[in-house]
Amino acid sequence: MSNIALNRLQRECKEVVTNSEISETGIMIEILNENLTEIRGHIRGPPDTPYAGGSFDLDIKIPDQYPFSPPNVKFATKIWHPNVSSQTGVICLDILKDQWAASLTLRTVLLSIQALMCTPEPKDPQDAVVAKQYMDKPQVFKSTAEFWTLKFAKGSVPVNVDYQSRVDKLKDMGVREEEAISVLSCNNWDLNRATVYIFS
């Protein structure tokens, strides 16, 4: 890693760690290796969203040209959101691509992602299936996102018994829980269609 990247990252890490606002906004970073190329970010799910109460981890990779190129950020925790791939965690956010600016920092990036969790952009989706559900069946989207938050992000909303029973039925058929949740979510929780999808 170049000197400039390392120097700036050290200052940024200090900024995030010492900033008292962090305890209020719920963003945090954790350094994974000494040369600061890999960083783990944490975002607390914003209140009044389906992600409330969840704790979301992000993988951050710092390119050599940082801060002149954006960091590579994706969700490590599975999340049901129109602008995040439900399969890979890849995020669709302009400032992580062509709208990056050298004045942005890890802190502002994490705050932007947190803001994206509050206001999805279904017209510029990363996951078309999620985006379609968000627009066509907002109630199903909300309960699905809540279910994912509970299952994958240690969320605190009570479990949706109806959804859980369908997941259990697929599990009884030998399907892994994660796959069961994913396929049911993509099929608007239609157990028959999910079964056909998995076994055909």
């Binding site: 400039i4 120097n7 700036r8 900024e15 002149f68 990056w100 600016a101 050298a102």
Partner: protein, 140 residues
């Protein structure tokens, strides 16, 4: 910072409170320069005029300087996050090799930092200010 030695060590604190007065005395008589230029030789010291019963002799004097870029204000460079007066991450020392550059949007950066940002591939074909996204142009 200045240090003064007194013939009466017990009365130092009262000397300190006299500081402003003493300092103006010094600059009037331009004695400090003489003292510092001869710093290496043993010097008997300079007796200060005094209206009190204290006899103050300046034996040693440390002079400190401070500099600032005129355009920058109290801010830090938005690219490297260092103070404007410290070296950017490319330079070892701050100074004229890497002065502040101010854009037409009034945002200032270290020269090396903004040059690198303008050359960044993600910033083509037209460079924008990293802070306000207006087209970057150096102010006259």
């Amino acid at each position: 910072m200045e240090q003064r030695d007194s013939e009466e060590p017990g009365s130092r604190s009262s000397e300190d409170t006299d500081d402003p007065q003493n300092m103006s005395n010094e600059s009037d008589s331009s004695e400090p320069q003489e003292v510092s230029s001869r710093e290496r030789e043993p010097h008997p010291g300079v007796m200060l005029e005094s209206n009190t019963r204290l006899n103050i002799t300046v034996k040693k004097l440390h002079v400190c300087g401070e500099w600032k870029w005129l355009q920058g204000g109290e801010d830090t460079c938005g690219i490297c996050r260092m103070e404007f007066e410290s070296a950017c991450n490319i330079c070892k020392f701050p100074g004229d090799d890497c002065p502040l550059v101010v854009g037409t949007c009034r945002h200032a950066f270290h020269r090396h930092c903004i040059e690198k940002w303008i050359a960044a591939p993600s910033n083509q074909p037209r460079a924008q200010c990293p802070l306000c996204r207006q087209d970057w142009q150096v102010a006259d």
